[in-house]
Amino acid sequence: MPSPAVEVVVKYRTCEFTTLSRDGSPQTWPVGALLLEDGRFLLCTTIGLPQKAFNIRRNAKVGLLFSEPTGSGVTEPGAVLIKGDATAEDRVVSDMMADPNLAAFMQTWFARQPAGAFMSSWLGRRLLPFYYWRILIYVTPRRAVFWPTRDFTSVPQTLDLSELHRVG
């Protein structure tokens, strides 16, 4: 049985993912993220929207806030903030089953976002041919905190990072 904090990072559909731009400004996007068995997170981006990868290659420091419970089924939603170091791979992946973690990520995402099948439809392939040219991003958590009730005015609990090393 996962802890309430792990349930948040596993079940929330999106998180707010922040990288730092060249001038140090935070750039935040809502993205999907998959917790891997070794406690890292896998995210990915298309090379048609490569800014996240460019930012990470300049500055590895990133933030992940899991705070949007819509669609997660979590009945007592909390929030988790993670500070971590990210790497953005050099390779461009166009086979979503080439990497087992990426395959798990994509299958999870397809299950959660059925309408996203548009991206592989006849029209989607012509409008966004770059959509499945992907850069894999791995985040290694360094510190994490947990709000059990999404009361962001309260002092959060420190989260033991070993909790994120979940059994697959």
Binding site: R13, T14, E16, T18, T19, L20, D23, G24, S25, P26, T28, W29, P30, G32, T46, I47, G48, L49, P50, K61, V62, G63, L65, S67, T70, G71, L81, K83, G84, V92, S94, D95, M96, M97, A98, A103, M106, Q107, F110, A111, R112, Q113, P114, A115, G116, S120, L127, L128, P129, F130, Y132, W133, R142, R143, V145, F152, T153, S154, V155, P156
Partner: protein, 147 residues
Amino acid sequence: MWAEAANWLAKFPEAVVTAVDAEGYPVSVRQTAPRYDAETGQMSVTWPAGIAVAEGPASVLCHSHDEKVWNIKAMQIKGRLERRAGDWVFISTAFTAPPGMLITFWRLSRTGRAAARRYLDKRGLTAPAVNWDAINELQRRARNSRS
């Protein structure tokens, strides 16, 4: 000047404020019922004890999606986080109203193609062939996992 940003912000019940901590990591917290001044572009921010943050560049993101992660809406305001009389204040510096879904797709189609082409050209790569069979198989598994 910030009326449009205020109007957009009012469409969302919450906002995510992100700034940078003393170690250089970005840190984010949500604000419920954000109070944004349409005249000054300023918003008071309640920053919880236990999350260190420093004055400097910051942003406000509002986003939403439905239960199936569709009907996605998002807006962002760039700015700075400053400490004033013991309180944290977000000060807007830039805002561009987000376009509608169709225009977003159309723009993404154009700008994404160009960005992808630049990315490949810079690395001497050719456009990779997508394994559509793999995508179809993963979508099939996803459908089965939902049923």
